[in-house]
Symmetry: C2
Subunit: 266 residues, 2 copies
Amino acid sequence: MKDRPIGVFDSGVGGLTVVKQLMKEMPNEDIIYFGDTARVPYGTKSESTIRKFSIENVLFLLNFNVKLIIIACNTSSAIGLPFLSKFFSVPIIGVIKPGAKAAIRATRNGRIGVIGTNATITSGAYEQEVRSINPRIKVFSRSCPLFVPLAEEGWANDGIVEAAAKKYLSGFKEKGIDTVILGCTHYPLLKKAIGKALGKTVKLVDSAEETAREAKNLLEECGAKYPGKRTGRTKFYVSDAPEKFMDVAKKFLGKDVKAAEQVKDV
Amino acid sequence: MKDRPIGVFDSGVGGLTVVKQLMKEMPNEDIIYFGDTARVPYGTKSESTIRKFSIENVLFLLNFNVKLIIIACNTSSAIGLPFLSKFFSVPIIGVIKPGAKAAIRATRNGRIGVIGTNATITSGAYEQEVRSINPRIKVFSRSCPLFVPLAEEGWANDGIVEAAAKKYLSGFKEKGIDTVILGCTHYPLLKKAIGKALGKTVKLVDSAEETAREAKNLLEECGAKYPGKRTGRTKFYVSDAPEKFMDVAKKFLGKDVKAAEQVKDV
């Protein structure tokens, strides 16, 4: 059990921000990453399709005998996690609960904003999670569908991103929010423009660090953490051709991905 | 043969602009439309994945015993058509050749611009097509990856679209281009902003009308056109949940889509 790998999946590359934190938190664990780059994005698709893709991704990772699955995608966590946990016996965690916890710790005035894809925001997953931990906190949410293509276009520090951020987030200013959850793994790339649109006093929370900590706690609790000293290996699988993935992976992972294998049929 | 339907596929909704012109050109023909809304977009994916999806779409349409297949998607036409024509015996046409022909007719100074997705522009399909018809015409191309999400966000007449159009197209102005091919079925929705960025004297060409005419000519040539008087029926199939497709279809088709059926496994 202890030397089995941790499985991580995402609709594309964004989930690598979680892998980065996992490597920091548990450098001796092996990781299998799957990015569904042939069918990305998930955030604009319907619940039934996101559920179908999520099941297929779990089944793919189970081929590697993983001891834990981390859904490193907000959309798939919001829509898929509740029923995946029911279907499969392997422990599965998502990024919503860790993100909500981090935001609750960060807020001073109990007013939290959430931004994400259409599917994540429509699901209401963050509101439900925050409410179940502390029902007195007020949550305001807004979908920002253009942030993913803008981040992928590499226009992070362009006036166009700032204009889009202003358009999406102007409503948050009047609400007196002091903390905003970046509810999509692409959004940290646009932190500067989002921060500018919200104002300096608003804290931005991304769930990657907290998710890695939750994974560690869970493995320790069930005695499944690798105990020895070694450098864990990470293998990357994608559904589209690997070249583009390897190109952009550096932005998210903070280091080069030397090889990624294409999976024909997920 | 004559009463068999025409098959049309696209990565999503954009191909409905072609269906609209087909209905105008040949109102007595039956049409089967397939939009691959669960895997949209194609334009950011690799050639091998676009080819795989295109084959699957053709195989799906063949279930309906179609007499002609129209690839109403620029990306799939650019990447998929050359080998689909080799693999399958059913006649298959795309939107690239009709678009190139229309642009060649429209240009006065022999300087044509092409805009499209990453995959379409990288393929060089429009340049090759124009060159094979008239090698003296100069073609300049530019991919505009944000235009599809901008059109889908419904920000067609927003300053942000104008800023993006200016950023993408400023290089075209110096080239003395007098005609630009809208090499993606989404782009006609952004005609106003694109026209503003290029200047009034530049003609914008979209290939939907010309494609419908080519389809009609082809059916007449092989004696497969439906000869009688009737109102043709159009059936819509999609791979994601049909609700969103039906919502946005009106923008592209110019009228309501009353029903669309979800296909589970394309």
